[in-house]
């Protein structure tokens, strides 16, 4: 199935979904005007990808500097898709990047681990000089 790539804008993240390489990354800011509409193509593509068998683990990487409330809900839905797949035997790993001083992002990463126990989530704190 075809890859999905959306370049980042000032208010929406870069989406890089490569089914053939079994990789997905989200990078940047997420406060688009209509989060559900923005993420719909990715969710559709993910559902299709996860429905088919695969011979390699699916690696998901997220480096979101900020996400608004609507994006938060969509991200949770996305995690649910990944978690379902993991529970059905698919290997899925998630790298959750966040600024070391950002307690909101860190807590969200921890909540993800609590809510989606079948996902192998690694939280990576990054220290910046600012």
């Amino acid at each position: 199935m075809p890859m999905l790539f959306l370049p980042a804008t000032a208010c929406s993240p870069e989406i890089d979904f490569q089914p053939a390489a079994h990789r997905l990354s989200l990078t940047g800011e997420s406060y688009p005007e209509h989060a559900a509409g923005f993420y719909a193509p990715l969710l559709d593509a993910l559902r299709e990808y996860l429905a088919a068998p695969a011979d390699a683990p699916f690696q998901v990487e997220m480096s979101l500097r900020y996400f608004n409330s609507s994006s938060t809900k969509v991200l949770f839905t996305l995690m649910g898709l990944l978690d379902n797949a993991a529970r059905e035997g698919r290997a899925v790993t998630m790298l959750w990047h966040h600024d070391a001083e950002d307690d909101t992002l860190q807590e969200f990463g921890e909540e993800l681990s609590d809510d989606f126990p079948d996902l192998a989530i690694t939280c990576l704190a990054h220290h910046t000089d600012s």
Binding site: C11, Y31, E33, N68, S69, S70, F76, T104, S130
Partner: protein, 182 residues
């Protein structure tokens, strides 16, 4: 002199960090958000305060964009909307005050009042718990987002949110205003 009504905002000019009354669009919100972030980088030392201000600015401005009854674009149109409201950020002693306002139709009142009464009774810790529950559940009726916007504000505030709903002179609706302290 009587004390100001709930959710009124200070008007002294030297307290204002920014103030905008007019039509909101996503492009305007993005530009203001980026500018605010750069300004806070210079003027606010605490990273947690910077993040909360940024997040609250985005939530309040997008609430106006989604829900204001004064709309230039068809209400059912989900993107490229233009809706009217007011949003201002003030410094007060060691705190910031973030205020927003927009007209709402009378038919929206009851549901809005119920949600606001519920959220404005919560302290930040309660709002955090309610936010977590909300993430796992279904959005409230009439909500275009996840119903989490108000809870996100309440969670980041340093005290419970304060709101007012005042009838507009034209009789067509009410003015909803919200105030939070960070």
């Amino acid at each position: 002199m009587s004390s100001p009504p709930p959710a009124a905002c200070p008007t002294a000019a030297n307290d204002i960090v920014f103030s905008y009354v007019g039509y909101f669009s996503q492009s305007l919100i993005t530009a203001m958000a980026e500018t605010l972030r750069r300004e806070l980088q210079e003027h606010e030392q605490d990273s947690r305060t910077r993040r909360r201000l940024f997040s609250s600015f985005v939530e309040m401005s997008q609430n106006i964009l989604r829900y204001s009854a004064d709309t230039l674009t068809p209400p059912a149109q989900p993107t490229d909307e233009l809706r009217h409201g007011a949003l201002s950020l003030h410094r007060q002693d060691e705190h910031y005050l973030l205020c927003c306002a927009n007209p709402v139709r009378s038919v929206q009142l009851d549901g809005l009042r119920r949600r606001l009464d519920s959220v404005c009774r919560m302290d930040p810790a309660q709002a955090r718990a309610a936010h977590r529950d909300g993430l796992r559940g279904v959005p409230p009726d009439g909500s275009k987002g996840a119903g989490l916007g108000l809870l996100t504000l309440a969670r980041d505030a340093s005290s419970p949110l304060d709101y007012a709903l005042r009838p507009l002179d034209d009789g067509a609706g009410h003015l909803f205003s919200l105030r939070m302290t960070i």
